[in-house]
């Protein structure tokens, strides 16, 4: 059976091909881009049997309508609840479903969150640009012609993993999914320019409530709220802008820098949102509230490793599911089947081959 090919019947509001981002060329001014809610995106790939770095589709609020024109495979939606359905039947998020030629994938309306990830077995097979398939629209790079999807686009998928059929019905347990509590404060690591603010300015930042303004896109979220007071100049000699950096220009209102941020800039950065909280922020909309709370680097790193551990657990559960695709949903910690699984990179005739293996126990 051939890999999936989809055709775009309606593009939705802002639908782009993304992966884990274009790393390695920021030094030449190339932004990273990539999925805004990286944890949901990576988990979506795991659910459908892909590698985490395969390309998928980022859907924003109003989703697209896609027709499967060829092949068969597995689909799963993660992230925001945007009313996903297959042939008009609602399909819950975080669930692997088998699809084939003639099936229609669509989204009814946003229920919670902002960005959903449509992951397909084999991954979206558009050309890789500087090592990534992520769409960066400002420089017309990656994805389909460097732009958001439009009606009539054809989306071919790559060859799915050898065990893809056995993924059908697999569900990511609730406790492993990212938490999107809209009231949870975002944890911020101080620096690199926290010393460019007065103590009162820092106090304002951590004690106040900010509102996401209408100027909020994949590049950054401008926030409205109490003015953060600088100590001396608000401008610095341009330096690198990491993901989640909270820039405070001279007007004193913070801007959180996101996936499509420019590589460098000349505004002071009071802190950087910890990587795990980028999921929750990416799911918030203009008009929603944001609060910040201080976190140490050590604690932020522990949180990042915990997030990685959750994906490891999901991989183990996937392997267990492939061995026993039982309909019974066991609590996560009760699935203790020893799983033997691995991945090796083989070099043959100058070509690198990624070989994955997994022990399957037949009933």
């Amino acid at each position: 059976m051939s890999p999936l090919v989809l055709s775009v019947q309606a593009p939705g509001m802002l639908t782009t091909v993304q992966d884990i981002g274009r790393w390695g060329a920021q030094g030449q001014g190339m932004p990273v881009a990539g999925a805004m809610d990286a944890q949901a995106f990576r988990m979506g790939n795991i659910i459908v049997g892909n590698r985490e770095e395969d390309a998928g589709i980022e859907v924003t609020l109003m989703g697209p309508k896609l027709l499967v024109v060829e092949g068969e495979g597995i689909v799963a939606v993660t992230g925001a609840e945007l009313g996903f359905s297959v042939n008009g039947h609602a399909v819950p998020n975080w669930t692997a479903v088998k699809i084939g030629e003639g099936d229609v994938l669509s989204f009814s309306a946003p229920r919670s969150g902002c960005r959903a990830y449509l992951c397909l077995s084999g991954g979206i097979d558009v050309p890789s640009v500087l090592g990534s398939r992520s769409t960066y629209t400002r420089a017309k790079v990656g994805g389909v012609e460097g732009r958001a999807l439009k009606k009539g686009d054809r989306l071919p998928c790559g060859e799915p993993g050898p065990l893809w059929r056995r993924c059908a019905g697999f569900v990511c347990p609730e406790e492993l999914r990212p938490r999107y509590d809209p009231a949870a404060p975002l944890r911020v690591i101080a620096g690199p320019q926290d010393d460019h603010f007065t103590p009162a300015g820092r106090e304002t930042f951590y004690a106040s409530e900010y509102t996401i303004s209408n100027s909020a896109d994949r590049m950054g979220y401008r926030l409205d709220g109490p003015v953060i007071e600088h100590e001396g100049a608000a401008d610095i000699i341009s330096d690198a802008i990491p993901l989640g950096a909270v820039q405070v220009p001279g007007h004193g209102q913070p801007i959180v820098m996101l996936a499509d941020r420019q590589t460098t800039g000349g505004y002071t950065k009071i802190g950087v949102v910890c990587s795990v909280d980028m999921a929750a922020l990416s799911q918030r909309l203009p008009g929603e509230k944001v609060r910040f709370v201080s976190v140490s680097l050590k604690d932020a790193l522990a949180l990042a490793r915990e997030a990685g551990g959750k994906r490891q657990r999901l991989l183990e559960l996937r392997a267990a599911w492939r061995s026993h695709p039982a309909p019974a949903v066991l609590p996560v910690e009760e699935i203790t089947m020893p799983v033997t699984r691995g991945e090796v990179l083989l070099h043959l005739d100058g070509e690198a081959h990624s070989v994955t293996w997994e022990e399957i126990k037949e009933e």
């Binding site: 460097g146 001396g232 690198a240």
Partner: protein
Amino acid sequence: MISHEYPRILTAGDGCVVAEFGDSIDMGINSRVAALGQAVRKLAFPGLLDTVPTYRSLAVYFDPEVTDVDRLYKRMETLCREGGEGAAETVRRVILIPTLYGGDRGPDLEDVAGLLELSAEEVIKRHSSRDCYCYMLGFTPGFSYLGGMDPSLEVPRLKNPREIIPAGSVAIGGKQTGIYSIPSPGGWRLIGTTPMRMFDARRDPAIFLEAGMWVRFRPIEREEFARIDAESEAGSYRPEIIEEEVSQS
């Protein structure tokens, strides 16, 4: 006024660490940034994602799930201490930027000449006879922050920035000169255009210019512009990059 001891290591979130060598735009500081960048890339530690050299600092991006961050901080500190003043430049890499000045390709050239009370020919001569140093790339893919333009060419930026400046535009803004790498808004004055693509995702390398290179503008005529433009469109154009010995004085 805030004062600091340099070099210093700054935390920039849980996926980035910055080494800062000073608080000024200075070639000596910038060469230490470049030297540290090379040393860090040589480490090739697990989880290394990217290095971003800027005027006076180096940002190192890593995967917080993989990298031993304590160890990375310690190694950065050691490398900063051992790096000393950075190696003095012995060979200079100069990239030639073929540029058609004036006319519809440099719509502000006459205004710039008028503001400076120079002839257009003299502006072209001064702009193309002095090499500029590329401190860093940023802003958009392939955009270079150049230093060292002839100071007699300083002109104020436009009061009303243009909404779209074509890629390849060679411009002056204040004390700086630069080349727009992709169509973008901007307030610099356009004096010429290079037919070379500063950024082309179809090409390898997509960006020819690197931090630490020198830029030399080479005036060309319409005929050569058309030829280079066609080669660039086909993806076959390669810029001339020359290596020059630096006389140690």
